[in-house]
Amino acid sequence: MKKQGIFAVGFLLLALVALSLMPVMAQDDEAQDFTFTGWSLNEGATRDVIMLAVDEFATANDVSISDVAYPYNEYLNQVILQARGGNLTGLVQMDVAWMAPLASLGVLEDLSPYIEEGVYAEASLASCQVDGVQYGIPWTTASIGMVANQELLEAAGITEIPTTIAEFEVALEALRAYDTDIIPYAAMTDVAQLKDIIPWIWTFGGTVINEDGEVVLNDEGTIAAVEWYADLLERGLIAADIDRFDARQLFAQGRVGFYEDAIVARALAAGSKPEDLELTVVPVPRPVLDEGDDPQALFWGHCLAVVAGDEAQTAAEFALYLTADETPTTRYFEQLSLPPTNLAFLESEAFQGDEYVAGWTSLITATARPNPFWPYAEAARMEAILGEQVQAAMIGRSSAQDAMDEAAEDIDDLLN
């Protein structure tokens, strides 16, 4: 009798433990409500496209997805502050340049278990990794590349897109001779945007940061690039104090021959140009120093990161839906012209049929490289140092060698 009593009590206790575990076990499989933080969630047409996908996923999975938006220029600061305070949860839209600072806080989930092989382009996956860990799922991957105004080039007598620096300079001189009011090349010369010189540094054989993590900003190739940039300014082939917003507006008015932008350049020009202006935007691989060299470009793109927590699985599934499922991917591309990252769509007729996007991807993004400063949490400060010293060389306050020596030293001090 006593033994039966002990057995009954033991069984009851076991049953109670099992019952208390059931909600936890069920929770592991059930979809969780989560928050989606992003800057695109409040931008006109982009919001409509994204929220359609949000609603579809939420309905299909019976979850609630709250959206939180911050302005792009303040986004990284806000996200880092929220992460530090433990208030950042769910899915987070990130620029590829911002992955390292957020990853350094230790709040992100490693998404490699969620990603099947062969779904995404390797370069796209790499753009969302930090120290080899897959902290983001690539949403769109492209590059900052050069575009040209085809009508203006033809009017200036330029019949072929220049492929070498020598040809490029001839084209710029031709544009200047055609109309002195035109800026032949609206290169970024505003301090905040002078990081655009990095692909030119690569073009001239410079390294910026070598494989051992050493700052080599003062090598021969870098000096040559900075001197060349300063020479263009002196010859009136580029203009002072131009940032990307200025260049976009001037290009849309037909007053710029070449400038550099993300793949959205075509859409931006179409939206801003006067109605009566014919403007065909052509992607141009960056001219190379010698025939046969690879054209250089900086990667550009967006990743979807997931904050570790209870909702991580559902948030990751939504990220996979946004980036790999045919419906949202097709819609995102067709309405926003942002290239997808999944291989199936990249090889599809819909993508390959768009000459501009397909051309950009094959001519520019194919040889693009990540900004060498991105792996560092101090990336913004490093870019600022580079920009300040390049500007010093361009306005003649310092020689290119002295300026780059100082930049190398300051960045080295920052890292050590």
Binding site: W39, S40, N42, E43, G44, T46, V68, A69, Y70, P71, Y72, N73, E74, Q78, L81, R84, G85, G86, N87, F245, R248, Q249, A252, Q253, R255, A262, V264, L268, G271, S272, K273, P274, E275
Partner: protein, 292 residues
């Protein structure tokens, strides 16, 4: 007066008149330049707010647009989010003004009319708070408010705005109370008035101009703040400055006509209050400037 002296006097008068006229012309031209410098940006805001999007960056720029549109103003009132931001701004700014007035009135009276150990040190401590860049304190305050669990609320905004308006509000009211004769207070005491009566029925009514200008200063501070409102308020309690940036500036483009129209609409309440309250503002700001 001899003829020679009269002629000389006449010549001097003519020279003096010419010199006066030249001074007036130069003075007038200088004033016009200053006015143009000060008001041209506002004029350009107005022009941009009634220009069609494709003409905003037209070259050469036009001082007056060829095609005028009011669609950007309509857009503001058709956007429920912006109306919500406007409501939030009114609530937060009004609460900041009232809170700042209440605290600074009593603190100003205390510093002005009472003498106690540590009074000077406390006054300078409060004033030294003005020296801190507000952005420097943002992270600390964010973490503090987060631990108190009051983020994403009106209270967090009112508390943070009041923190930064109090030093100047206290000093403004203290300066005004300094101009009030002590004999007034003594007379009231002799008549049997309590401290409560002295403050609320004698001093505060007299200090109305200073109270209005102080309240307006605190209101404007709450109305214009960007970084604290963006960081602490959350989407539901967001005020106009971060709300406008969120709505009209993007990764690739800024909708300048929308932004200009919205900025003008948002400025109107403050401009209207200034126009109607300017005599109080001038009196309040000038208080204590002249003794006796």
């Amino acid at each position: 007066m001899t003829a020679q002296a009269a002629t000389s006097h006449q010549d001097t008068g003519m020279v003096g008149g010419r010199t006066n006229w030249m001074h007036r012309v130069i003075y007038g031209a200088g004033l016009i330049l200053v006015v143009v410098f000060a008001f041209f940006p506002i004029y350009w805001m107005l022009v941009t707010s009634i220009t069609t999007e494709d003409q905003v960056f037209a070259f050469p720029p036009k001082l007056f647009p060829a095609d005028i549109t009011l669609e950007w103003y309509r857009d503001f009132f058709n956007n429920p989010n912006l109306i919500r931001y406007l409501q939030n701004s009114f609530i937060v700014s009004t609460a900041t003004a009232i809170g700042s007035l209440i605290v600074s009135a009593y603190a100003g009276y205390s510093f002005s009319k009472f003498r106690y150990t540590g009074r000077r040190a406390l006054m300078f401590l409060i004033l030294s708070a003005q020296m801190f860049p507000q952005a420097l304190l943002l992270i600390t305050l964010y973490l503090m408010f987060d631990s108190l669990g009051i983020l994403n609320s009106y209270l967090v905004l009112v508390l943070s705005f009041t923190t930064f308006t109090l030093p100047l509000c206290i000093w403004m009211l203290k300066s005004y109370f300094d101009t009030m004769p002590d004999e007034l207070i003594e007379a009231a005491r002799v008549d049997g008035a309590s401290q409560f009566t002295i403050i609320h029925r004698i001093l505060l009514p007299i200090a109305r101009p200073a109270m209005i200008s102080t309240g307006l200063f605190a209101f404007i501070r709450g109305w214009n703040d960007f970084i604290y409102a963006l960081t602490l308020a959350g989407p539901q309690r967001m005020t106009l400055p971060p709300g406008l940036v969120l709505t009209y500036t993007g990764e690739f483009q800024t909708s300048w006509p929308n932004l200009m129209a919205s900025s003008l609409i948002v400025s109107l309440p403050v401009i209207i209050v200034f126009v109607f309250m300017q005599r109080y503002i001038v009196a309040g700001l000038g208080a204590g400037a002249v003794k006796g």
